[in-house]
């Protein structure tokens, strides 16, 4: 068997790694082009085959992502945001609202004595794991003044719920604006109600978990992530239910909410981590220069990390989450309009 045939046989097997739909549509053509390329390779069969194989992992990843449900959802969100000014307004409104909420939240934490300096970048996930003076890691809610690790409700908690209701109101308004005919009142009330209710529910669950302060830190850390997801699913389902979505659509809304939250979390954590680390290190150095030791303050690093990181982090997450709300509540209307516009253009 010639070297060319061996490579073609290998490539035939590798094509099976593509998604089934892609294989069915382009598999034979791919193989044919690869064989022709090898047959006419001027710099040797090996070089030509390596050129193809070098690209293969990226092409496989791209096609699998293109076929995944999550990617379709993200594409749909991006398409909506790209083609509709209303969706853009919805996403920006959400981003702004989340940014303001997190900024207010960070300020309240600092004022109430929480140790934001450790985990400013985790601002997107409300329950936090903090290193307490006793050397243990404890779950601490930003809405509690908890420098000693105890969970004491304060006015901050109430303020946070009110803020959430305001954010929900904005969410409802932008979602209503994105829908024709507008159903402003119902949507606004749904938004105003669903965010704080979802927050209180997840807080309650976390409080139950945190009752045993000796739980391993890893459990708290895992809950940090899961509570955000739970919050998104709960919030999305509530929002859909209160807005009059059908039971069939409700499950899809909840799943979409969870997926949008995870997507937003991954992106925003990556960005937030870099920003917070940079500012945190700088803040700690400034603190050391001014105060002479690392333990005293902190307010600098805490303030900077908390404030600087939470705004872009929340804005990114809000943008993704808000984009989804606008897109999902719109029920594919924006995409339909885009296809129609494209068809009309072709017929001209």
């Amino acid at each position: 068997m010639s070297a060319g045939r061996t490579w073609v046989a290998l490539y035939r097997r590798l094509i099976h790694l593509y998604p089934a739909a892609f294989q069915a549509e382009f598999g034979e053509e791919l193989l044919g082009v690869f064989a022709e390329k090898l047959a006419e390779a001027q710099r040797g069969v090996f070089t030509a085959a390596m050129r193809e194989l070098a690209d293969l992992p990226f092409n496989l990843l791209q096609e699998h992502l293109h076929h995944s449900e999550m990617n379709r959802m993200l594409e749909r969100i991006l398409t909506h945001q790209k083609y509709s000014r209303q969706r853009q307004a919805a996403a920006l409104g959400f981003a702004l609202a989340f940014g303001i909420l997190e900024l207010a939240n960070g300020l309240l934490q600092i004022l109430s004595g929480s140790f934001t300096r450790y985990v400013g970048w985790v601002g997107v996930v409300w329950p936090r794991v903090l290193n307490q003076p006793d050397g243990m890691l404890h779950l601490v809610w930003p809405s509690y003044a908890s420098s000693d690790g105890s969970l004491q409700p304060t006015l901050v908690n109430l303020a946070l719920v009110v803020l959430l209701a305001l954010v929900g109101l904005v969410a409802g308004l932008v979602a209503a604006r994105a829908n024709q005919p507008p159903r402003s009142l119902r949507f606004s009330l749904a938004g105003a109600f669903s965010l704080p209710v979802a927050y209180v529910a997840t807080t309650f669950l976390a409080s139950l978990l945190a009752a045993d302060q000796t739980l391993p830190a890893i459990i708290y850390a895992a809950y940090n992530l899961l509570s955000g997801l739970l919050f998104a699913i709960l919030c999305a389902a509530l929002f859909g239910w209160l807005s009059g979505a059908s039971p069939a659509r409700l499950g899809r809304l909840a799943l979409a909410g969870g997926a949008a939250w995870v997507g937003g979390l991954v992106v925003s954590l990556a960005v937030g981590l870099v920003i917070a680390l940079a500012w945190g290190i700088l803040g700690t150095l400034v603190s050391f220069i001014i105060h002479g030791d690392f333990s005293t303050l902190s307010a600098f690093s805490g303030l900077w990390a908390g404030l600087v990181a939470t705004i872009p982090v929340s804005a990114i997450q809000g943008w993704i989450f808000g984009g989804w709300i606008g897109a999902e509540m719109d029920g594919g209307e924006g995409q339909r309009r885009q296809v129609e516009a494209s068809r009309a253009f072709s017929e001209q």
């Binding site: 892609f22 053509e29 791919l30 022709e36 690209d55 092409n59 516009a341």
Partner: protein, 118 residues
């Protein structure tokens, strides 16, 4: 005139631009596109089969190109060869991108010392 729908697709990636440009002349099959893109780019762009078909797939989905079967021409497995051709929308996208690039070059030429106007 560039419509908002087309304008939002720009700028194109280099690969997309060269593929559309290759199909602007005549319908071509996959390997012919690959060779033409290498030729158009002066050998700089050497497309792999996977990259080419990934791009073709997305262009088909967007309605920029169409796929036809040539009954008279058979591929290596004896099936009618598939060729790709530019659609009206694809032609408009290519024109808009060409215009955009022309404007960029013109702006650069105006600022470059001793450059001739484009």
């Amino acid at each position: 005139m560039v419509t908002p729908q087309i304008d939002s697709q720009l700028p194109l990636s280099e690969v997309s631009f060269y593929i559309l440009l290759s199909l602007a002349g005549e319908p071509r099959h996959g390997y012919a596109i690959m060779k033409d893109v290498a030729n158009l780019s002066g050998g700089r762009i050497d497309l792999s089969a996977g990259t080419l078909y990934g791009a073709l797939k997305r262009m088909l989905e967007q309605g920029w190109i169409e796929r036809l079967e040539l009954p008279g021409e058979l591929d290596e497995s004896g099936r009618p060869r598939k060729v790709y051709c530019l659609s009206t929308v694809g032609q408009a996208v290519l024109s808009a991108e060409t215009e955009r690039l022309r404007a960029l070059v013109a702006a650069a030429a105006r600022r470059s010392p001793g450059a001739q106007p484009v």
